[in-house]
Amino acid sequence: MAHAGEVVDELQRVREAAKERRLVTSAADGSAVAFEQLYRRHCARIHALCLRMTGNVATAEDCTQEAFVQAWRNLRRFETRSAFGTWLHRIAVNAVLQQTRRRAESLGAEDSVEREVADVLADHLTVDPGRSRDLETAIAGLPPGARHVLVLVGVYGHSHEEASQLLGIAVGTCKAQLHRARALLSARLGETEWNHDAG
């Protein structure tokens, strides 16, 4: 019987949501202590997003940091009807896009950087680490536009409409980029897996 457990889970969820709202309100009031707690709650998710979108460890850390700084500066604009995590996610995507434009480089195309990102992500892989590591390496090696769409739609489950809004591109472009990303990944993973089999 799980019904009572479900009620308790629901209460726990309500409590957690209330706690997060309190932290957000307190941080918006200027409490760095409350904001640090928000950082602790969300940094791993935001960092993973930045890591995959940038394909570079150092840039991902910069973007994660920038996202939280921007969140702090704009906390009073945050509307509590949406979840703080969702709002922060959007800020992080903007931070990555700004960083990409500013640096105007494709770090993900460098093989050494791909390996570095895959090494970091490999520590967190639980399902078939070998194959997942290959996948992470392949994602990091995608061109930025295709990688951004693949990460948002394929990994984080956004719709094309949401992803196109986040990235500031047309829905059609988003779909085309995803198609491109899938084709590139399939080709690359096919090679990798064939090589594994051959080896």
Binding site: M1, A2, H3, A4, G5, E6, V7, V8, E10, L11, V14, R15, A17, A18, K19, R21, R22, T25, S26, A28, D29, G30, S31, F35, Y39, R40, C43, A44, R45, H47, A48, E61, T64, Q65, F68, V69, W72, R73, N74, L75, R76, T80, R81, V120, L121, H124, L125, T126, V127, D128, R131, S132, L135, L150, G154, V155, Y156, R182, S186, L189
Partner: protein, 212 residues
């Protein structure tokens, strides 16, 4: 295309499945907080323009967090006469739960949606009738948490009386009511399913029928 080559659709589905297995959380290799803290210290914190409003928001939000027995809005800040003037308070139904929260008024002409009020009253009555079916521990937790939610709503209502029309307070209040309604609805569904269970269902020595 050979027989061994998967179709494009199959390959895409397989790729999507692999993507969905990737971890969504990866902690950074180092603690980024010190750098962030240094940068946010460089600028003034996002202080609200009206300090008094900020104080209210903090207290109201603290109330929502369900701090047991707290009354963060002190008596000196509460002006019950203002509350009575500014909050259109319909009479509490005689058969309503003892801890039913005072309905809020959102501005001079605003009240809670009548449909919401009716649903809430109905769910509260259902809760009163069926709460005995819950195990002792679940009942205690439920009563405690509902009490906390209702106290939080009372305190936000009081804050709204002082700061009528404050959008964040209204947001907090609505969310609190939604949370309460969600809990009531959940309990109602739970007890409904309990009522439909076979009569010969095993009962523990303490009378508990469900496992937590």
């Amino acid at each position: 295309m050979t027989q061994d080559e998967p179709t494009a659709g199959h390959a895409a589905a397989r790729l999507d499945a692999r993507l969905s297995e990737l971890p969504l959380e990866v902690a950074p290799g180092r603690d980024l907080w010190p750098d962030i803290a240094a940068r946010i210290d460089e600028r003034a914190p996002p202080v609200a323009p009206a300090t008094r409003r900020a104080a209210w928001l903090w207290q109201a939000a603290a109330a929502v967090v369900l701090v047991a027995g707290s009354s963060l809005l002190t008596a000196s800040l509460l002006d019950r006469s203002v509350l009575q003037q500014q909050s259109a308070v319909p009479p509490v139904p005689a058969n309503a739960h003892a801890t039913v929260v005072m309905p809020a008024a959102f501005g001079p002409a605003g009240q809670l949606d009548p449909e919401y009020v009716a649903t809430r009253r109905q769910l509260t009555q259902v809760l009163d009738q069926r709460i005995a079916a819950l195990p002792t521990s679940a009942r205690a937790k439920l009563e405690f948490n509902l009490g906390e939610l209702r106290r939080a709503a009372d305190e936000i209502n009081a804050a709204l009386a002082e700061q009528p029309g404050d959008p964040l307070l209204e947001e907090l209040l609505l969310k609190t009511y939604q949370d309460e309604l969600a809990v009531l609805s959940n309990v109602s569904q739970l007890t409904n399913s309990l009522a439909n269970e076979p009569a010969n269902m095993p009962v523990s020595p303490t009378g508990e029928r469900m496992q937590l």
